[in-house]
């Protein structure tokens, strides 16, 4: 799964730093709860990519769970 994400999202370069992205643990927040997700991040400026797979998958799922809580 992680490898696939890396492969899928790994072609992106940071537009500002022109560097390849690395998979990192990144904290995300919703409705006062903080999660940590493996996301692609620019090692230079720290900009983070949320792929469609993550947005429509894990994030959407967690949003639903938190809203239902």
């Amino acid at each position: 799964m992680k490898e696939k994400e890396q492969a899928g999202g790994g072609n992106w370069l940071c537009g500002r730093c022109d560097r390849p992205l690395e998979l990192c643990k990144v904290q995300v927040t919703y409705l006062g709860s903080v999660f940590s997700l493996d996301l692609l991040k620019c090692p230079g400026c720290g900009a983070v990519v949320v792929t469609e797979e993550i947005a429509a998958g894990k994030m959407a799922e967690a949003e639903q769970i938190l809203e239902d809580k």
Binding site: W12, G15, G32, V48, E67
Partner: protein, 755 residues
């Protein structure tokens, strides 16, 4: 809302009321289940239903005088079910034995005098309640006059349970003078045989009952014994003799069961009446039971059906959630937010219970407690804000006039879906109505009302009132049935007339100007016009004058169905809303015609050929308006902006608005991407903003192989991502998606582990 009001709503739903047969039965046998099991040939389970209510099923099941049959609803559709005969068939076939154990032994002792059915029942019931029971019978066997009705071995087998459970049986005991009874704490005299009552001195603790043999009803005799046992128990426990016993004997059920879709079926005669029903005959007869229930509202509402229960349970669930401090379960939130608030349930309910009212209370409670999920309504509220904003809203007198006798209020959705019709209608009104016809573009505020955002709704209403005042309080000509209803409720001082009335009046005066259409159309009444008979008639008359032959759908006028947009069902539960629209679209093969822009849109999304009344009046026949594709969120919003620009530019000579910088981003969006964006509630202007932000600030990711860029921008609570490439003249959009989660831990509250 307080507990009492919630209970009052809950009690209006009668789905859990007993069917008439059970209510009429003096001991409330669950006849409906009994018949269902018998119809399936499940004799044991059917017999157990009898044994659960009957003290001596082997006796009563054979001689029950079945008063239930008098009230059987099947009686009005082919003849009452032969419940009595079926009892006999089942006790012969099924297992009627029942394991029963008395409650822990109590100290008090009760004498039961007489062993007819009432005495036997009283003795058994009191023993099961834990009392020491002595049964006195003057004859030489238990059962008294039952011996005239049934073979002895059945009576003996059935009454043997008494001694097994510890009842002391005294045969040949003629009670005379009552001295023998002094040792008992209570006495029951069961006078089933109609014999002269023995001489028992009046005393406290004496209970008399039974069923005289003349006009003897076995089931009533059992009920008498049971009632006596309850009274004696309460007497000995020193609790109220009467409380909570209103429905102990036969009563009238409140259950309503429609026979509308029940074809009559008569009973088949028995082939051998002397030996009762055969297996097959019993199954067939039991299968005639219509399994009485109400479900009137659920039958016509996909929302009520999908949540798999009925209003009584829903009210219980929603009120528990609303009145418990830490309530608010996800399931309840989905329930209250999925209702279209269309009111069909109240229109079909025998007791006018409105799930719209219940769900609105539930929503209000969620909003009040800060438990309403933003995702349910935020998008619609934002759309409403845009329709009320400067780019879309306006209020002006007719060009060249300084007063308005009328003002046309098309509503935000008609302006969004049919800007060209709004333009034409306004021209027609100006040409035909004297005294000045102004124009007001804005939203009536209904999304805020549906979202239970009372403050926002109030603001929207006040804004309409303000515009209306500024135009000198003219007669408001309203096109949208929802706006009409909102103003009728909230702005009683405003003189309202529906556009359809106005147009019908104009068409009458001016006579036919166009050649008749000769088209057959099925009318879909919008749910917000449910109680507006005048508006429904005006639309029909307009269409008829235009030469259309009209077809009425099976659910129309006061019983019309929602298209799935109402109550914000479409933003809170999109899949359900689509199913609702699809089901509505299937009611007839004929092209539909409606007078709500959102109904037209929702039905068209499901591929239904459907016209708006204004299409009939203003579209040229060459354009197949019924096949026009539906109008998405982005398009509606942009149409509203453009409508105002066009009107201001062409009628009031206004200058062009200065464009926002992001509007210079030209987009090229393939259909399939646009469809995905609609589903994900992503607007074209959101995409423009993302790209504008990325291209001016270089905040984007690039893929050197494909040459595409990926960028995001957060607007309000939502972060939008767009994958695009620049194709020389415009930005081609390859994908767009969004999320509500924020990157980073701005709150620093609870930290959840990674999955």
């Amino acid at each position: 809302m307080d507990q009492k009001s919630w209970r009052e709503l809950e009690n209006r739903c009668i789905q859990e009321e007993a069917p008439p047969c059970t209510a009429r039965c003096p001991i409330h046998v669950d006849v409906r289940t009994f018949l269902r099991k018998a119809a399936a040939g499940d004799w044991d389970r059917a017999a157990q239903v009898l044994a659960a209510a009957m003290p001596f099923p082997g006796i009563l099941g054979r001689i029950c005088d079945h008063p239930c049959e008098q009230v059987c609803r099947r009686g009005e559709a082919g003849g009452a079910i032969s419940i009595g005969e079926l009892e006999r068939a089942v006790v012969k076939r099924g297992d009627i034995t029942r394991r029963r154990a008395p409650l822990p032994q109590k100290e008090q002792r009760v004498a039961v005098v007489g062993s007819g059915l009432s005495g036997l029942t009283a003795a058994l019931d009191l023993r099961l309640k834990g009392y020491g029971v002595t049964l006195f019978e003057p004859g030489d066997q238990l059962g008294s006059a039952l011996w005239h009705l049934l073979p002895g071995q059945i009576i003996e087998a059935e009454t043997a349970v008494l001694e097994t459970l510890g009842v002391t049986v005294r045969l040949h005991e003629l009670i005379d003078g009552g001295s023998r009874l002094k040792v008992f704490d209570a006495v029951y005299l069961g006078l089933d045989s109609g014999a002269e009552p023995p001489l028992v001195p009046p005393a406290s603790g004496l209970f008399i009952g039974g069923e005289p043999f003349r006009g003897y009803s076995p089931i009533s005799a059992v009920a008498e014994g049971r009632r006596a046992a309850v009274s004696i128990d309460r007497y000995l426990q020193k609790v109220s003799a009467a409380a909570g016993r209103e429905r102990e004997g036969p009563y009238e059920s409140r259950l309503y069961t429609s026979l509308e879709s029940i074809p009559p079926r008569t009973a088949l005669p028995m082939e051998h009446p002397e030996s009762g029903y055969s297996d097959e005959e019993a199954r067939t007869e039991a299968g005639r039971c219509i399994q009485c229930e109400c479900m009137e509202c659920v039958k016509n509402c996909l929302f009520l059906e999908r949540f798999k229960a009925y209003p009584k349970q829903y009210v219980r669930q929603i009120s528990n959630d609303a009145t418990v401090v830490l309530g608010a379960h996800g399931a309840t939130r989905r329930l209250v937010n999925s209702c279209s608030l269309c009111g069909l349930c109240a229109a079909t309910c025998p007791n006018d219970l409105s799930m719209a009212q219940v769900c609105m209370e539930g929503r209000r409670s969620l909003v009040g407690r800060g438990k309403m999920p933003a995702s349910a309504h935020e998008f619609a509220l934002e759309d409403m804000a845009s329709a009320m904003g400067q780019r879309a809203a306006m209020a002006c007198h007719e060009p060249g006039k300084e007063v308005s006798r009328f003002v046309f209020f098309p509503g935000c959705q008609l302006s969004g879906v049919y800007p060209e019709h709004v333009f034409s209608v306004y021209a027609l009104l100006r040409g035909n109505l004297g005294g000045g016809t102004g124009l007001m573009l804005r939203c009536c505020g209904v999304p805020a009302k549906w979202a239970a955002r009372d403050g926002l709704f109030e603001e929207a209403i006040r804004a309409v009132e303000h515009d209306w005042n500024s135009l000198g309080q003219p007669v408001l000509i309203v096109a949208c049935p929802t706006c009409y209803r909102i103003f009728k409720e909230r702005l009683p001082q405003v003189e309202l007339v529906s556009l359809w009335h106005t147009l019908a009046g104009i068409s009458e005066q001016s006579g036919p100007r166009q050649s008749p259409l000769a088209r057959r159309l099925a009318v879909h009444d919008p749910c917000t016009a449910r109680h507006e008979t005048g508006m429904q008639d005006a639309v029909r008359s307009l269409l008829a004058r235009r030469g259309c032959t009209l077809e009425e759908l099976s659910l129309s006028r006061t019983e019309t169905e929602c298209c799935g947009y109402g109550g914000l069902m479409s933003t809170a539960n999109p899949p359900l809303a689509r199913d609702v629209a699809a089901r509505r679209a299937r009611l007839s093969e004929t092209d539909y015609v409606t007078y709500c822009a959102m109904c037209r849109n929702a039905l068209a999304v499901e591929g239904k050929r459907v016209l708006h009344v204004l299409d009939v009046l203003f579209s040229t026949p060459e354009t197949d308006a019924a096949a026009r594709r539906p109008c998405g969120w982005s398009e509606r919003r942009e149409n509203r902006y453009r409508l105002k620009e066009r009107l201001v530019g062409s009628l009031w000579g206004g200058s062009r608005r200065t464009m926002e910088a992001y509007e210079s981003v030209l987009l090229d969006i393939p259909d399939e991407v646009m469809e995905r964006m609609e589903e994900r509630r992503i607007l074209r202007e959101d995409v423009q903003k993302v790209i504008y932000h990325a291209e001016t600030g270089r905040d984007r990711f690039v893929n050197p192989e494909s040459g595409r860029s990926l960028a995001s921008f957060t607007l309000g609570h939502v972060t939008y991502w767009v994958e695009y490439s620049y194709e020389g003249s415009a930005f081609r959009i390859h994908n767009a998606y969004s999320h509500r989660m924020e990157i980073g831990d701005s709150s620093g509250l609870k930290v959840w582990g990674s999955e």
